[in-house]
């Protein structure tokens, strides 16, 4: 078990470096230059060189690469954002917690909704409930997250005045937040995060419930379930003790694998609800051609996925004796 975990961690390290390397060279291979935004046609070449020197762009690519690694590993520094005129790190540190907050809440929703509905659908296979949830899940699963977001916005944040319950954007009420009591502030945050996390969570939950149903139906067919029934256990114990434990294990892995989709979804949802997170940073960077910001965003999302998968694998090893004891 310990060797397994250690090996698994060791595998993650080259993965992270690969991620960094590919991103670094991909972004530096792009045509143009981060300093392009300063240029105008009649700028004299010397001034250009000066600007390039200030940002270290005159050095050979290899040197820039090594320096970058050094900065990231030792100081969590990602360079300077020319477009935002501040260190990338500051921008990230501001946005990252917001994205994590949103994603974590969405993950919670995804798991509780997805697993719960999946189990019910599997246990009541072929019932009206099962058929209804299957079609519903398929629809949500097939829905772009921005569409779900817009529908929710329309229904509950302004389009229909009778049900205008939630704010349309932001994390807090910009005007009144400061003057609220602690409880009031908490409530303010809650109503702001509700729709975005719901949007992100429902889409993901639809996928998980499909998997959960499938896994549980697969497990219910297994021989050991028959053995459990033959012992005289009640159907509830058979399904929830013997079945669920086995069916949940693959879900852990699927969870880990679904993280990139969750983060991709977060980018969109942040855009829809004006949520000041990493997704917004990424899209801003796209329109401003902010090279160093891109590199940082890609790296951080990649790292979160790698770490998420690592955690999922370790969790899996803890619940599956076949891995734990080998």
């Amino acid at each position: 078990m310990h060797t397994y975990i250690i090996r698994r961690i060791l595998i993650s390290i080259p993965l992270l470096f690969g991620l960094l390397t590919i991103n670094f060279f991909l972004i530096h291979a792009a045509p143009g230059d981060p300093t392009d935004i300063f240029y105008n046609p009649d700028m004299d070449p010397e001034a250009r060189e000066n600007i390039r020197r200030i940002y270290g762009l005159d050095q050979p690519l290899g040197v820039q690469y090594l320096k970058y690694i050094q900065g990231v590993v030792l100081k969590f520094e990602f360079g300077y954002s020319i477009a935002k005129k501040r260190p990338v790190k500051d921008e990230i540190l501001e946005a990252l917690p917001n994205t994590i907050q949103l994603s974590a809440l969405a993950l919670l929703l995804e798991l509780s909704l997805g697993i719960g509905i999946g189990i019910l659908a599997a246990v009541k296979q072929q019932s009206t409930f099962d058929n209804a949830t299957r079609v519903t899940a398929l629809t949500f699963y097939s829905m772009p997250s921005f569409y779900l977001g817009l529908v929710l916005l329309f229904l509950f944040a302004g389009g229909v005045s009778a049900t205008h319950w939630f704010p349309a954007s932001g994390m807090v009420d910009i005007v009144r937040h400061e003057s609220m009591s602690t409880l009031g502030r908490l409530g303010d945050r809650a109503i702001h995060i509700f729709l975005p996390s719901l949007t992100l969570g429902i889409g993901a939950a639809a996928g998980i419930s499909r998997y959960m149903r499938g896994e549980l139906l697969e497990v219910i067919r297994q021989d050991y379930m028959r053995t459990a029934r033959a012992k005289g256990l009640t159907e509830r114990v058979v399904v929830f003790k013997h079945g669920l434990r086995n069916a949940l294990m693959p879900i852990i892995t699927i969870m880990g694998l679904s993280l990139p989709f969750l983060f991709s979804g977060a980018v969109i949802v942040e855009q829809v609800f004006g949520w000041p997170g990493m997704g917004r940073v990424a899209v801003d960077a796209a329109f401003q051609r902010d090279y160093s910001m891109f590199l940082a965003v890609n790296l951080i999302f990649g790292a979160m996925v790698v770490v998420g998968n690592l955690v999922a694998d370790i969790l899996y090893a803890m619940v599956d004796p076949r891995v734990r004891l080998s």
Binding site: A230, P321, R322
Partner: protein, 339 residues
Amino acid sequence: MTDVMDQTSPQIEVRNLKTYFYTEDGVVRAVDGLSYRLAKGETLALVGESGCGKSVSALSVMRLIASPGKIVEGEILLDGLDLLQCSETEMREVRGNRISMIFQEPMTSLNPVFTIGNQIMEAIRVHQDVSRKEARDRTIAMIRRVKISAAETRVDEYPHQMSGGMRQRVMIAMALACNPEVLIADEPTTALDVTIQAQIMELLAELQSEFQMSILLITHNLGLVAEVSDQVAVMYASKVVEHTSTAELFASPLHPYTHGLLTSVPTLGMPREQKLNVIPGQVPNPLHFPTGCRFHPRCPVAEQRCKQEEPLLREVKPGHWAACHFIENGKSPIKGADR
């Protein structure tokens, strides 16, 4: 089969059992009018070709037939109690307590995420009100009883840490944990290699006398039948076609199908030049059984009557039941069958 077969009342008697699967392709009559009886403390072997309904009949006795299957008719009497009239709650009291079952596939019949001790203890604790500690002690004793060494450490191991033979022993320990009256063993050794097979059968025989239980042994292996069973029921196409004591069956098989079955396996001391008899034709499809006697398309002595009229299982000789129109005066229609 309604007559009393021997003086003591049977441990299990199955009468005219019908279990059908309502599939999209039609009704699969997996068990269709099955009758047999298993006397107390004895072993009844249920033999027949693959797909003839042996496993489904065993699962029917446990009432473990899942949708789309359904027991549509019949009686299953456990010491006089009709299991088909029991509620699901009453039935749970029977499963694992009065009737236990072990399965063909030891590799997949144990839950991979629980220790074997946990799984055996579970069987004890559903039926008996004992403390964890006591249940664990009895589990260890049980593991020792099925001859697994180092029971104290083995009890905390997981199925994947054990070999197939070992797992089948665990299955036996689990099945016998509550000292059942009947053990149904569905091809308990098919998945194991030959030496392990012998050990497991020996163990079962030992435990049978120790626990005073009746065994319903489902098997393909006629050698095994000859060795361990007291009575034999031969199944063909979802029904019993012949039912008698093992000695009688091997000495004078009366049903043409049984005759075919017995001559299709080589026996010791059989002249080398004698050809092995292969029953021609196909195992009938339980979706559409042949009319009349279901064996008629393959029977060497079939006549017109066999196509129209279904033969009933009747006592053709004292203590010898068979379902064939042409068994007269305890003589098989096939010459030389009853030596």
